[in-house]
């Protein structure tokens, strides 16, 4: 393992330790997905084998939309806290005096927000599909157990989560107040819901090819977002509250 990987891992490990010690984060991570899974399960279980195919398709699409909301909304708040939170508790300056680069720091932070979120999303997806397999009518089970839905969840959950995390981190790196950052972070992550919404509205059908193409596009956007957010991360601004570039311009040098 090279030094860069060690640094990224150190940031992730520290974040996980902090999550574990802060029960509020754990409860938040569990409650929202629980609601988003329980409600559609009840709805789908009430559909009998004689229900019309269009009703089944609509209900299933809404259910899977709700499951893709989890990786979008859940990490936004955590990511929005990531940088401004460090500054607020006075830990950012000591951290930035170590040899960690901004790319390593941001990647560690974002992975720490993404991994548990995606894990939670996958777990609830599995719980849901297994429950449907066991308890729902065979028409519902057949509609849910489609390879394209599995592929969509498998690919989109981490990519949408990563997008949400980068938006939250960008806001966190430029904010001056934790509460503002968290509110803006959640709001700014919402546009990412357009993709699952279009799927659930049957604007396009998530065939395997479509899922892979969209996933590649999302992956490119995520990598681009990482580079942009890294550029936005201004050590001087975070420590002193003023940007080095702006100050040089104002000082006329």
């Amino acid at each position: 393992m090279n030094q860069s990987a060690i640094r990224i891992r150190a940031v992730m490990r520290k974040e996980f330790q902090e999550y574990r010690r802060n029960r509020f984060i754990i409860y938040t991570m569990g409650t929202l997905p629980l609601i988003f899974t329980a409600l559609p399960v009840i709805s789908l279980f009430s559909i009998s084998n004689t229900a019309s195919p269009s009703l089944v398709r609509t209900q299933v699409a809404i259910t899977l939309l709700l499951l893709l909301v989890i990786p979008v909304v859940l990490p936004a708040t955590i990511a929005a806290y990531s940088v401004i939170g460090e500054r607020d508790q006075g830990t950012l300056e000591p951290l930035l005096t170590t040899p960690i680069s901004r790319e390593e720091f941001l990647l560690g932070k974002s992975l720490a927000a993404t991994i548990p979120t995606v894990g939670v999303a996958y777990v609830f997806f599995i719980v849901l599909v297994v429950a449907i397999r066991i308890g729902a009518s065979s028409v519902v089970a057949h509609a849910v157990w489609q390879p394209s839905w599995f592929l969509a969840e498998l690919l989109f959950a981490p990519l949408l989560a990563a997008w949400s995390v980068w938006v939250g981190t960008a806001i966190s790196a430029r904010s001056s107040d934790v509460r503002v950052a968290q509110q803006l972070g959640t709001l700014a992550s919402l546009p990412a819901l357009v993709l699952p919404l279009l799927m659930s509205l049957q604007v396009f059908k998530p065939t395997a090819t479509v899922a892979v193409v969209i996933a590649v596009a999302l992956a490119v956007i995520d990598v681009g977002a990482w580079r942009i957010v890294a550029k936005m991360f201004d050590r001087e601004r975070l420590i002193t509250g003023a940007s080095a570039v702006t100050m040089r311009a104002e000082a006329g040098t």
Binding site: I6, V11, Q17, P94, P99, P147, A251
Partner: protein
């Protein structure tokens, strides 16, 4: 070597097993996992419901059996047993096999070694002056200025710090001390001027190399209060790129006398103890230069004394300490040289040199009763330039050479029938030097 890595791998398994011991971390493990997942999903998606469910259970069961076989609690027993059987290269320590692996694998090179290795491979520091690394100065600052917009934090500051000295950086609040430390520790970019830290030019592209060689302890230690002392140090050791940092952490904790509190949450520690954790953190990377920003601010006298002893211990180890403080007694006690800053640098030098430079030599005379004719008496002594009476009624005589003047003054006083209570060389404290330099202007400045 192969056996060593096998034992290490099992140790890794043993430490990180999750759930009921399933952890397929080898590439074979991942392959089996992928096949199992594909098989299970395929069974459920593609086959009729009942047959698919039976296949699903079969595939998952087979996978769990294989995964358990590959790694898990069973291997922990194997590893410990093999460790016990092994030769002295694999000595057991607390029931855990200790494996002899070259230090490089654990990333335990000193920051200097790492930086030099990078230099030899990439020539990254080719533009740094050759003599900067080998010379006696570890910090060289030339006409450095930092402005925040129109606000000047410090201006045209030039000084150098020698290897292994405790360098005091004094000044009133808002004088630019913290901004200077932040600039030298690469947190903020100077507006103009140049500097070298640990022999490396202060420029954006060298920031990481500089940060490998230095440590900064900010006024507020900045610890993660929900983490334990050890967890905080493990995190920071990771940021320095150390993989197996426990020996370093143990040494750092021992240095600050915190070994017994290693597992305490930082949130439960007193301010003094947190400051010591901050110091332990600063020792993790064996820095060449330690920047300490007000390290005793808010500490009680006992805790302050402990910090002072640590600073002295650092100096004894050859570490250069850049101490920012406005506690003049602290600077006088600890610093080899001081610089006094009030937006611009007022002076730099040894404290006794500053005294000599700024104040004329004097002799203080105390008598049991006022002299009848002090003017006539002191004017008759050749080596006395002038005299005055201080607040306590004693006489302050300005002299050119104390060694010549003192016997002459004594003789003259005795001859005049004066009862001399004391006769001593005048001593000017650092506080007087400081006030002389900063004075009322101390209220100005920005930071």
């Amino acid at each position: 070597m192969r056996h060593e890595s096998a034992v290490a791998k099992r140790q890794w398994f043993a430490r990180r097993r999750i759930g009921f011991g399933v952890r397929p971390t080898t590439w074979q493990g991942w392959l089996i996992t992928a096949i199992a997942v594909a098989g299970a999903v395929g069974a459920l998606v593609g086959v009729k419901k009942t047959t698919g469910d039976v296949l699903f259970v079969g595939v998952v069961g087979l996978y769990l059996a294989l995964a358990y076989r590959l790694g898990g609690t069973k291997k922990l027993v194997d590893a410990t047993a093999r460790g016990a059987e092994s030769d002295n290269e694999h000595a057991l320590e607390n029931g855990v096999a200790k494996v002899s692996v070259p230090p490089a694998m654990y990333g335990s090179q000193s920051p200097r070694e790492i930086a030099e290795a990078i230099m030899s491979h990439t020539g990254k520091f080719a533009d740094a002056p050759e003599d900067a690394v080998t010379s006696d100065s570890v910090i060289v600052v030339n006409h450095l200025t930092k402005q925040f917009g129109q606000r000047v934090a410090f201006e045209d500051v030039s000084f150098s710090v020698r290897r292994g000295e405790v360098f005091g950086f004094l000044g009133p609040n808002g004088a630019g001390k913290t901004s200077t430390v932040r600039t030298l520790s690469t947190l903020v970019t100077p507006t103009s001027g140049t500097a070298e830290v640990a022999g490396i030019a202060l420029a954006g592209k060298h920031d990481i190399e500089i940060r490998q060689r230095i440590a900064v302890m900010t006024e507020v230690p900045g610890l993660y209060l929900r983490l334990s002392v050890t967890e905080n140090l493990v995190f920071f050791a990771g940021l320095y790129g150390y993989r197996d940092a426990q020996p370093r952490i143990d040494r750092a904790l021992e240095a600050v006398n915190l070994t017994s509190r290693a597992s305490d949450l930082c949130g439960n520690l007193s301010k003094g103890l947190r400051q010591r954790v901050g110091l332990a953190r600063a020792l993790l990377n064996d820095p060449e230069i330690v920047f300490l920003d007000e390290p005793t601010a808010g500490l009680d006298p006992v805790a302050s004394l402990e910090v002072h002893n640590l600073i002295i211990a650092l100096r004894d180890k050859g570490v250069t300490v850049f101490l920012t403080t406005h506690r003049l007694d602290e600077a006088e006690k600890l610093c080899d040289r001081v610089a006094i800053l009030n937006t611009t640098l007022r002076t730099v030098g040894r404290i006794d040199e500053l005294r000599q430079r700024m104040f004329q030599k004097s002799i203080l005379v105390a008598t049991s009763a006022p002299l009848a004719n002090p003017e006539g008496l002191f004017a008759s002594i050749e080596s006395v330039a002038s005299w005055s009476i201080d607040d306590t009624g004693g006489y302050v005589l300005t002299v050119s050479d104390v060694r010549v003047a003192a016997p002459a003054i004594t003789r003259a006083l005795v001859a005049a029938g004066a009862d001399v209570l004391s006769l001593a060389e005048g001593h000017h404290s650092l506080e007087e030097v400081y006030l002389e330099l900063v004075g009322a202007a101390g209220k100005g400045g920005t930071q």
